[in-house]
């Protein structure tokens, strides 16, 4: 049903519930980590003793996207990896957010010119927070997480279903599609 999301207009009860839920969500953002490259090391360091993201309730890195709230993209998205990320993102339950960590995830970074790279995570996924750095310092990612928390806490969800269309996974550009298909065809044959 979705009492909050489908509501036409706010009233006292709805806003109270909404505030409570936003508080809960913002204090318990769990990660889905598809640890691709260098930045995932700094992400691991953020879970370590010195930075400890568990302090603010984000300490759980769930292996399955079904149980996580934030998809972290800690590195380059290659053309081969892009469909995987899209699929993992789509399999996360709503509401969900994406953090692009590091230059590679923001724009392709050092590998921007390469034939096998996408130019940033936002070409395939709706990114909420961009954290620059190469690799991103754990503190910088922590700050990004705090920003995301502020956004989660500050955005009302009442009537969201009417305002925001369902996120439709973008079609891959046709030339990649062909490449991916070609790869998958060979791959499944083996």
């Amino acid at each position: 049903m979705g009492l909050i999301e489908n509501a036409e207009r706010p009233n006292f009860i709805l806003t109270t519930i909404d505030t409570l839920l936003r508080w809960g969500r913002s204090h318990s953002l769990w990660w889905c980590n598809a640890g691709s490259a260098c930045c995932s090391l700094e992400f691991a360091a953020m879970g370590g003793a010195r930075y400890d993201m568990d302090r603010i309730g984000s300490g759980l890195v769930r292996a399955s996207p079904r149980q996580s709230d934030v998809l972290l993209i800690p590195g380059p998205i290659t053309k081969k990896m892009a469909p995987i990320f899209v699929r993992v993102y789509n399999q996360m339950p709503d509401p969900k957010w994406v953090i692009a960590m590091g230059s590679c995830a923001i724009s392709g970074g050092a590998f921007r010119e390469s034939y096998s790279m996408t130019r940033g995570a936002d070409t395939v996924l709706p990114v909420d927070v961009y954290v620059p750095g190469c690799p991103v310092r754990p503190e910088a990612l922590f700050y990004g997480l705090l920003k995301l928390r502020a956004r989660v806490r500050g955005t009302s969800n009442i009537g969201l279903a009417h305002r925001e269309p369902i996120y439709v996974p973008p079609d891959l550009p046709p030339e990649w599609e062909a490449e991916v298909r070609e790869f998958l065809g060979e791959h499944e044959a083996c």
């Binding site: 049903m1 009492l3 399955s64 996207p65 079904r66 995987i84 990320f85 699929r87 709503d94 279903a161």
Partner: protein, 120 residues
Amino acid sequence: MDTYANLAALVLAGLVGLAFVFALYGAVKLLAPSRPYALKNATYECGHDPLGEAWVPYRLQYYAFAIIFLIFDIETAFFYPIVLVWRQIGTLALVETLIFVAVLLVGLLYAWKRGVLKWD
């Protein structure tokens, strides 16, 4: 009377527990958004399309374990009355149980030697 009241309490506890679980399901229905689409409801397998079915005649390594488990489970049921009245019977209970356990152990040893107890 007391027994019946206790039984009723257990049934009641079970029902309340079920009601609790379904109340939570109901709360989720009320509070959570729901936007299913095909890709979201597809099976998760590390970001790939799953190859083949999951519900196949899967090989159970512990087929033999399960049979021995049954034997031992029944054996515990046999033990149950005798340990409760152990003090009344005394030495006889000890001797009888020892024989029983010895027979069981021989069986377990046989299975062990045959390699049944190897998870494979």
